[in-house]
């Protein structure tokens, strides 16, 4: 259903109230972006449907409220997939939510993240106007890449109405393997395996190193042979749990992003992206002085929410300047404060 007119009316109405708008899809990521007092939620959940899909173009254009599961199903029927393999935190997950949060799954280092597959989008701007950026084609460098700027912007720059996504043919064969080992061994193996042809995931969870092959049936034996002794074929279940963060944690869940060869922290719950993304559980995010990574908030544990701040470095200041110039009246919510204040 095309809810553009309704959504535009809601946004315009909200603009008159002087309370920032929080665009929301299925509401499955409220843990990451809580609804606070003085914020108006505008839901895209009714704005659903596939605008066009031509499998031989490798492009699909979908409305933001379309459920992620519906998108996956449509692609599966045509033998194609969304390579960025986004997490789902519930059946109500939408395409708009995937794009606005910019969260990508285990295949991120090998096939790319959400922004790598976004070709264009239509947005309700902070002015209340509707504008389209980018296009439906593989290359578009006319103007600035405002589409990709909206990926991961957490709804701070406007309300996403629809998105054009690049899709790819399904791999002929997908197979996960597991090696039971401790985290330091897993990290060593991760570094060794980075070049394996067909590698599409490399994660550590539940005392096991998980790798995934995707590609042709013919090339799979070579992949298996190149793995260290002790790997066993397994279902992709554990990798899905790493993707969807389906693990228990008493402390708050913190996200660590950094170099793959940085030392492993004691609070580690899981490693993903070949070691470049790590999930830590702790009441307080403690970073060693020599830790080159960056720690940000992700999900609350049992303790009360910690104090969080925004980036204060040069890049952070430019990001805030950009938000202020693109949304001068503060029509949409700010990008969230995710940095632990110690």
């Amino acid at each position: 259903m095309d809810a553009t007119a309704t959504l535009q009316r809601l946004v315009r109405q909200a603009l008159t109230l002087d309370q920032p708008i929080l665009p929301e899809g299925g509401g499955t990521k409220r843990f990451l972006r809580p609804i606070t007092a003085g914020v108006q939620v505008v839901s895209t959940a009714e704005h659903q449907g596939i605008l066009h899909y031509h499998p031989d173009e490798l492009v699909i254009r979908v409305r933001a409220g379309t459920r992620l599961s519906d998108l996956h199903e449509t692609l599966r029927e045509a033998g194609q997939c969304l390579p960025c393999d986004p997490p789902s935190f519930g059946a109500a997950s939408t395409v708009g939510g995937m794009v606005a949060s910019g969260l990508a799954g285990p295949s991120r280092p090998y096939v790319g993240g959400v922004r790598d597959y976004v070709l264009g989008m239509t947005v309700i701007l902070p002015s209340g106007d509707v504008a389209t950026f980018g296009g439906d084609v593989m290359k578009n460098v006319a103007g600035y890449d405002i589409s990709r700027l909206n990926v991961g912007a957490m709804g701070s720059l406007g309300l996403i109405l629809d998105v054009a996504l690049k899709v790819l043919p399904n791999p002929e064969r997908v197979q996960a393997y597991r090696l039971a080992c401790a985290a330091p061994v897993a990290q060593q193996q991760m570094l060794l395996q980075r070049r394996l042809p067909g590698l599409s995931a490399c994660a550590y969870f539940n005392a096991g190193l998980l790798v995934r092959y995707q590609g042709s049936e013919q090339a799979r034996p070579a992949f298996e042979k190149a793995l260290a002794p002790g790997f066993e074929p397994v279902s992709g279940e554990d990798l899905d749990r790493v993707r969807d963060l389906a693990f228990d944690h008493k402390g708050h869940l913190w996200r660590w992003d950094g170099p793959v060869d940085a030392a492993v922290n004691d609070d580690l719950v899981a490693m993903d992206w070949g070691g470049a993304l790590r999930w830590l559980a702790a009441d307080q995010a403690i970073k060693a002085a020599d830790d080159p990574g960056a720690i940000t908030w992700f999900r609350q544990g049992e303790a009360p929410a910690p104090e969080l701040g925004i980036r204060g470095d040069g890049v952070g200041l430019l990001q805030q300047r950009l938000k202020q110039t693109l949304d001068p009246k503060g029509a949409f919510i700010d990008y969230p404060a995710l940095r632990p204040v110690l």
Binding site: D116, V137, M138, R148, S216, R311, L322
Partner: protein, 483 residues
């Protein structure tokens, strides 16, 4: 003109070569888009980042506009000088700073050529995937500014998909590192935003590229077709079969003949269209893959089919494609290269329309392009000394991509405002889109000093802040065909 006070201040900067002599400045009057030339009043070639920063600070203080230039190979006028601005050449920043074979990255200065990166890392079994045709000469800084693609971007993506971090210098000399410490950065994605921004937001001073393992096996298929429509349909058929070729290129008859005359690549001269399909992968899978694609090409009506699997034979087939531009340059005094991307399903239609425009304007057009991406490069052949031909070329060039305006094309054969009004594309549609572009620019460069007037019209060209002038050209030239 640049004020004497500015020139004097620039002369004081250490590690900076200033080119004031007009005969030496002349080489900088245009980039690869030679139809738009402007003699720069002054050229600065800094030798160090300190010198570059000092140059930016002088210009910022004195409100002097700046245009950055890498190797000057770009075809969209990204480095066209300004009559009142400083041209800053970054080609001297040509060092490879670090190669990390474990993390599979290389950290390089912006003036390093695209091909030099792959050459430097070849011994580690890795390569840098984006390969624009000018890769032997174009710089990585320019590739970021233009978000360059190339033959292999169908499978491996554009520059954007292969860069993990950037260091940029803003108009006032501030240096920022974009891209975070891992694969994700807290906050708005400025790394993506810098790609394709054509030097309007900041100067790229360091690039960390992602490298990929060289594929074990590579093979190239060459298929000749009796008409361009069949070749265009074959392109769709290959993708539909679930194959993602490393490259899928098409050439039409005029391009085939020009290339064959020039380099003797062994192309079928009787063909009206030619497809070159490169496949890569593991040694165990390449044969099956090749068989599958050959069957698809034959079913799509290929009249000739040649496979080249050894390196020498592959290089010969690619030589014709890579030499196609200079080959066309041999058969006409000048050509104007358009560049635009369309949905693949319109390939056959658009090629036919380009052909009818070619007849209408009585100018030959050669087509050589990345068919797998729908990225067309019609080359309009003309003689610049013949004023009438030049004008027809200019008018004709405005047509091919407008003909597909309603098919949501992208057009990046952009030119700075003025002569190329038809080619000027705004990259957005709808109310307020252009205003967002202008605001975005202001957040980075509030004084409008970096490459002003390029790609995004400046205020003097676009009367009111926020107004849309998408079809300005169309209204001015109602006699031109708009499809």
């Amino acid at each position: 003109m640049i004020a004497d006070a500015v020139t004097k201040a620039l002369r004081q900067i250490d590690d900076l070569e200033l080119i004031e002599d007009p005969s030496r400045r002349k080489v900088y009057e245009s980039d690869g888009l030679t139809a738009f030339a402007q003699m720069p009043p002054l050229v600065a070639l800094p030798n160090s980042l300190q010198a570059l920063q000092a140059v930016l600070r002088v210009c910022h203080t004195h409100h002097v506009p700046m245009v950055a230039r890498g190797a000057g190979t770009g075809l969209s006028g990204g480095a066209t000088p300004l009559a009142n601005g400083l041209l800053i050449g970054l080609a001297k920043f040509n060092r490879i700073l670090e190669i990390d074979p474990i993390k599979m990255t290389a950290r390089v200065e912006p003036g390093v050529t695209n091909l030099a990166i792959s050459k430097a890392v070849a011994s580690t079994g890795l390569f840098y995937a984006p390969d624009p045709s000018s890769q032997i000469a174009c710089t990585i800084g320019g590739n970021v500014a233009e978000n360059s693609g190339g033959v292999h971007c169908l499978k491996y993506g554009l520059t954007l998909h292969n860069v993990c971090a950037l260091k940029v210098m803003l108009a006032d000399g501030e240096v920022l590192s974009l891209g975070g410490t891992g694969l994700w950065e807290d906050g708005l994605d400025l790394l993506a935003l810098l790609h394709g921004s054509e030097g309007l937001l900041g100067l790229v001073i360091e690039v960390t590229v992602a490298l990929r393992p060289m594929p074990e096996a590579v093979t190239v298929l060459m298929a000749g077709f009796a008409d361009t429509a069949s070749a265009a349909h074959a392109v769709s058929a290959v993708i539909q079969a679930g194959v993602l070729p490393a490259g899928l290129e098409m050439m039409d008859r005029l391009a085939i003949q020009a290339a064959e005359d020039f380099v003797h690549a062994g192309y079928p001269l009787e063909a009206q269209a030619l497809l070159l399909c490169e496949l890569d992968g593991g040694a165990d899978e390449i044969d099956a893959l090749s068989c599958k694609v050959q069957a698809v090409l034959q079913a799509a009506g290929a009249q000739s089919l040649v496979e080249a699997s050894d390196a020498e034979a592959r290089a010969r087939l690619w030589l014709g494609r890579k030499a196609a531009f200079p080959a066309v340059g041999r058969i006409a005094p000048d050509y104007y290269c358009m560049d635009g991307t369309i949905p693949k399903r319109f390939l056959a239609d658009v090629l036919e329309k380009i052909s009818s425009l070619s007849e209408q304007y009585d100018l030959r057009v050669a087509n050589v392009f990345h068919a797998g991406d729908g990225n067309l490069h019609p080359l309009i052949l003309y003689d610049a000394n013949d004023t009438d031909q030049f004008q027809r070329g200019g008018r004709g060039s405005g047509c091919p991509f407008y003909l597909d305006l309603r098919k949501r094309r992208s057009d990046h054969g952009r030119a700075r405002g003025g002569a190329g009004e038809e080619a000027l594309d705004q990259g957005c549609s709808g109310r307020g889109g252009l205003a967002q572009f202008r605001r975005l620019k202001a957040a980075f460069d509030s004084e409008e000093l970096l490459n002003p007037g390029k790609a995004i019209p400046t205020l003097n060209r676009c009367a009111e802040f926020g107004a849309m002038h998408v079809h300005q050209g169309a209204e001015k030239h109602p006699e031109l065909p708009r499809f």
